[in-house]
Every structure is written in C-alpha cells, then in structure tokens.
Symmetry: C2
C-alpha cells in the first residue's frame, strides 16, 4: 500500500518507519517543512511528493501534527481530490474528530479517529496507536511489523480521541499540578521542608517534579492547546474540568523553554517561572 | 505539664496519647462531644474538665478540629482567661494562622502554628507535627516519647501552614484529579480501554483510583473547605490555583459518602457520582 504521513516529526517518522518495515511505501510533503524534517524523512526512505496536491495518490493519509493544525490539515487534504482513508492521529477532542469526519464525508473521504499513547515508537512495546471508526481495523492490518502497536476500539469516531484525552489528562495534568505545588512551596519559603517530608512519605514526588520540569518544559508550548481541549472534553462529559485550565496556565508560563534540549533544562528556573511576581502583573 | 486537646478525634487522640506517654497530663472538654469521642478520651486516660471555661488551667492547648472551626475555637479559648501557649494544628492557610495569632495576641496568649502530616500517629514514623512561630521549640520538648514526630520550622507563623498546604495540595489534589479522569473515561465509554492502557504504561494508576475512592470519599465532606484554602493560598503565592477549585468540586460531589467505613465504599459508585447528569443540573 501507499501511505502518507503529514508530517514526519519525531512521532510521525516513527509511524512511517513502522509502516515501511511492514512492507508499505510512505509518501511525505516537503513543501514548507524544516531542514530537520527533510533529514528525518530521507534517513527513513520516505518518498517526497513535493507539494500537498500530489498526496491524492496515497491509499491512506496519517495526520500527525500539532492539534491546533488538525482541521486545517484535513481541509487542505480534502481539496486535493484524495479518496482514500484519512487517519487523524492528533490529540484532539472527540468533538473535533467528529467535525473532521463531517468535513471529509462531504468529499467522500473515509475517516478513522486515532490517538497515539507513548513516546515516538522507537522500541518494542513503547507506543500504541488506538483507532476507532468504521474502517479502523484496516489500520491494524497495515502495521504487521515494527514498533507501533495498533488497537481498534469499539464505538466509532471519538473513542480513540476520548482515550487519548483521558490518558493525557492524568499524565500531563498531574505533572503540571506537582510543579505548581513545588513552586508554591518555594514562594512560601518551605520548599526544602516539603522535599524533606516528601523524602519521608512520598518517595517519588521530588523525582516527579524534576522529570516533569526536564521532559515537559521543552514541549510546554504545545501542551497549552492540548490542555484546553482536555478541559473542554471534561466539561462536555459533566466532570470537573478546572484542573486542566490550571495545567494550561502552568504550561503557558513555561512556553519560553520551547525545544531546549532536556539535559539543558534547569529545574530551578522552571519552578521559578511558575511564580507570578508583581513585575509580571 | 498540663496539656489540652480540642478535640480528641482520631488525630487528636493520637496526639494526646503521645503527650501522655511523654509524661504529661492531657485535659479535654466533653461538653457537646459525641459518645465516640467520650469513649476515645476515656480509653486513653484524658481528664475531662467538662466545659471550655475550665480549660484555662492548662499550659498548652492543641486545637485539632475541622479547619472551618479553627477561628471560632481560638476565639472561644481566648475568652476563658487562658494564658498559656495555643497551638493551632489545623489545615488552614498561612493567612488564617496569622489571623488567629492576632486575635490571641490581643489577649496576651502566645501562639504556635502547627501542621500535621500523615495519618493518626499510631505507629512509629507515620506522622509528623510541623510547628513554626516564636515558641515552637517548646512543642518539640513536650513530645519526648510516643509516635508523633515534631519538627520546628524557621520563619515564624505561617510556615507550618504553608508546608501542610503544599503537601495536601499534591496528595489530595492528585487523588481528586485521577478520580475525575476515570469518571470522564467512563462517561465517554472508554473506561475499560483506559484501564488497559494504564496497565501497560501507568502501573499504579488504577490502584490509585481505587485507593483514592476508598480512603478519601468518607472524608470528602471535610476536604472541600481544605481544597478552598489551598486554592486561596496558591493564588496568594502567584501560582496557578484552579487545580484545587476542581478538587473541591470533586470532593463536594462525594460528600454523601460521609463517614462510610472504607471497606464499604463502592469504587464504581464513587466514579459514577463524579459525572453530572442532566438530572443534576
């Protein structure tokens, strides 16, 4: 089969690699992409079709992009004359997935909702693509080899999105919460006392703040819109949702750490950044 | 020394027991207290002085009550002519502790801020009383024996409160958050899928929801005001605070589980209770 991945970032390229190792061809669109994305695609033998207009040749398209670009991407693909199966694997709400489904249906494009859980699929068992919607089992059949596990969910469009939302709500929500706790303790002058008590009774907590600061701060800029979608989805489901408004605020305050290498993130400056000083107001 | 504990609930009685095993006498006030509290006090050989007016005979008073009753308690004690050391060990904000300090100062009563971390002090190393404020080292000197660890904090009134707030912000905030996550997954029809994925990549998460439901739901009714104080304290410190508004909402929805024995709490009905149905609105 001929697949396409829009766009091969770190996650996308790992999905492409799994497809190629399963015996498929994978197209990509170099127009407007960075030098780094070009290198990544070349390294994994993806085939560059140049511009989006040439993407209609593929049987399946995987959209793997920042969630705020997902609808625009679907619209752009719909304009190319593509008639295959479109998989949106972005961290969007069930409502957004239904919206994408509707706009593709108007162009007779079949849609599958996808949600990826885990880091880029570079080792056995690390990463799963959950899929839902009418033709979702076809995605399972694509990935016969490689590091991406694919699981179909019953219940149609929106289920994969809901699962991804619930999963990220805990991992990214609790990371933001514990960073806020350490920041408050610092501002109140009891950070060392908190770390002492955590050492006695919450043995993982200090490490969780360090890991969260190191791993999440460089990605915080793109977590903001994800937290907002999570909050909306919880509200839609009638469950208290302000946790993720606060998490969006935490990640927003960390947006200046964008793309800093993990080993160069200073935990103390992350904590400090979460405290709004009078100068900020 | 002659101490007093207002009132000997499960936590208070364990503090009283530690004081008695350190060689002190402990008074209490039976007026208006339940039969259960009477039994508890008798079992540990506390001395009943009957009414609050007789409490001025003690050298130190420990206030260990629901945080919303803390100011009222301090005011009532101030009216008795008590001139000893007053320790408020309730989970209140630093601002509230400063308020209590002010109102006691008007009556020439010295004040120490206290924060208890851990379950009732019934086993070695389980529980610590953090204290701050001018005479806080005197509290350390009281507890030479028994199961309550006492730690003085530098920095004056408000530090023990801030530490307790930060600590509970993580434990009770994250418990509320993960319960909300499971409730949303249930309402969206992906609860089993979430438990499956958690089993693969978040091995403690499912157990955390069960434990949180079982242990916290019976106490949820009194967590609501604690979450509100936590939220205010985070706001005062310039740190995102909506996490604890949401946690207050979670615990408020669980208030009907008040004082149900832990082994009779049904996890499924706790989760269900967090979903607001159209009938609730």
């Amino acid at each position: 089969m001929i697949l396409a991945v829009l766009h091969p970032g770190e996650m996308g390229i790992s999905v492409a690699a799994a497809a190629i190792s399963s015996g498929h061809r994978v197209l990509w669109v170099s127009e407007g992409r960075s030098l780094e994305t070009n290198r990544r695609a070349a390294l994994q033998n993806l085939e560059d079709v140049g511009t989006l207009s040439a993407i209609h040749r593929s049987d399946m398209i995987f959209s793997i992009c920042p969630p705020q670009a997902a609808i625009q991407m679907a619209k752009a693909v719909a304009e190319t004359g593509f008639k295959g199966l479109y998989v949106d694997a972005n961290a969007g709400s069930p409502e957004k997935k239904l919206l994408i489904n509707d706009l593709l249906k108007d162009k007779n494009i079949d849609f599958v909702d996808g949600g990826i859980i885990g880091p880029p699929a570079n080792s056995e068992g690390s990463t799963r693509l959950y899929v839902s919607g009418g033709r979702c089992r076809e995605i399972e059949a694509v990935f016969t080899n490689g590091f991406l596990g694919v699981h179909s969910l019953e219940g149609g469009i929106g289920k994969a999105a809901a699962l991804k939302i619930a999963y990220a709500a805990w991992t990214k929500g609790s990371s933001a919460l514990i960073l806020a706790v350490r920041a408050m303790a610092r501002n109140a002058g009891v950070e060392e006392d908190l770390l002492y008590e955590w050492g006695l009774s919450q043995p993982n907590a200090e490490a969780m703040t360090s890991l969260s600061a190191t791993l999440n701060s460089p990605k915080a800029w793109r977590f903001v819109s994800e937290m907002n979608e999570i909050s909306e989805t919880f509200a839609t489901n009638g469950v208290p949702n302000n946790f993720w408004d606060a998490a969006a605020e935490v990640y927003d305050r960390l947006k200046d750490f964008k793309n800093i290498p993990n080993d160069q993130v200073n935990v103390d400056s992350v904590i400090q950044k979460l405290i709004e000083t009078n100068e900020d107001i």
